[in-house]
């Protein structure tokens, strides 16, 4: 028969609470696979945390410069329909939910503490009596173990949060450094490369794109000139080599 101790993967004597290896597991994962899973989890958690931080920061910045509208400054439209009122009702509920949720959490916490205190008080004559004394030691052990496990999980969460953030930063930095090094090594002769790239763009799809654009140029000007009855400029008007140098 399995006891509760057997089900629980941590030894009570080990301060580091190392998980017990399950040698009988049918579906076992290699340490590399486990690392991959943890790495992927860290990436997901890191992205989420970094994204959330950036979003929160941005939202706070936006809200910092904004003044809240006061109720006395609201002018109610006389022609406000029931549809409008329904819309405002829904908006009101939507914006009230976070406050309600927050208040609910606080209330729940306070009630839980009070209930726990009350039950402890009611049960104290029994828990302190000699009848309960044989089981008291076992309960204390379980309680201590529970606290240790919770502490361990909280600490694990803290560590993994930092790991997740670090892995994301590391990834981004690695990519950036690689890109920069690659660019610097491969494109030392910037001027030559840019010139060649610029002229080289005359091939393929860009030709079609340029042609279309220049056609639109001509059409636009023709339309405009037909409106204002202006003459179409000749090649000699427009060539830079045929013009005097400007200042």
């Amino acid at each position: 028969m399995q006891t509760q101790d057997d089900d629980f993967p941590y030894t009570s004597d080990d301060p580091s609470l190392t998980p017990i290896e399950d040698n009988d597991a049918i579906l076992s994962l290699t340490s590399e696979q486990l690392d991959d899973i943890k790495g992927a989890l860290r990436l997901v958690v890191g992205s989420t945390l970094t994204g959330r931080d950036a979003l929160s920061k941005r939202v706070r910045q936006m809200q910092a410069g904004q003044e809240s509208v006061k109720p006395e400054s609201i002018i109610i439209d006389e022609n406000e329909t029931s549809g409008d009122q329904l819309k405002f009702l829904l908006l009101g509920i939507l914006f009230e939910i976070p406050d309600l949720f927050q208040r609910g959490l606080v209330t729940t916490e306070q009630v839980s503490i009070k209930v726990y205190g009350l039950i402890s008080k009611i049960l104290s004559p029994f828990t302190r009596s000699w009848i309960f004394s044989p089981a008291k030691g076992q309960v204390d052990i379980f309680t201590a173990r529970g606290e240790r496990v919770v502490d361990y999980l909280v600490m694990r969460g803290r560590i993994e949060e930092q790991n997740s953030r670090l892995i994301l930063q590391q990834e981004a930095i690695d990519n950036l450094v690689n890109d920069v090094v690659e660019t610097v090594i491969q494109k030392i002769d910037v001027q030559k490369i840019i010139q060649e790239e610029g002229l080289g763009m005359a091939g393929g799809m860009t030709d079609e794109f340029r042609e279309q654009s220049s056609n639109v140029d001509s059409i636009l000007e023709q339309k405009l000139r037909s409106i204002f009855h202006k003459r179409v400029p000749s090649q000699s008007d427009t060539s830079p080599n045929n013009s005097a140098e400007g200042g």
């Binding site: 910092a64 930095i173 840019i194 794109f209 140029d217 830079p240 400007g246």
Partner: protein, 174 residues
Amino acid sequence: MESTITKRIESGKHPTLDRSPRPAGFFSRSEAFIIDLVILFVAQLVGSAFIQAILRFFKLTGLVTYIKTILESSTNQIITGTVLLTLLVIAYYTFFWTLVGFTPGKAILGLKVVRKNGAKLSFGRSLLRFFSYWISAIPLFLGYFWVLWDPKRQGWHDKIAGTQVMYIPKNPSK
């Protein structure tokens, strides 16, 4: 079967592939301008991410906090950000105009900024052209639309700086 481009090249109708350089029109120039704006926007995002990554890598995030403390008010921070962004834009345009005569946006459209004698722009002239952009923009961008009317297809900024935007001829050396 011959493509339309090949036919146009042979007939000499394609302005960008034509041997003789011709001034570029309003639409091509506008497209190039928009592409440059997009490139600048992306460059700004990538640049700031890169700086942040460097600062984090060397654990210098405190430096940013310190600078923010020095700048104190958000107004000062906005002014500093605007100045830095303006410097980036100036550097982008003057660098490309002086070095090769075209920005990446203009390169995509096959355009080149040259002096009236066909020479490349000096740094001073590039700066003058850049600041003349603002003069063209003040009267409801009339200086830009001037390209549509002008027989030489010059905007006000071109006239002030003595420049022209030309279609890049295909393989001009040949």
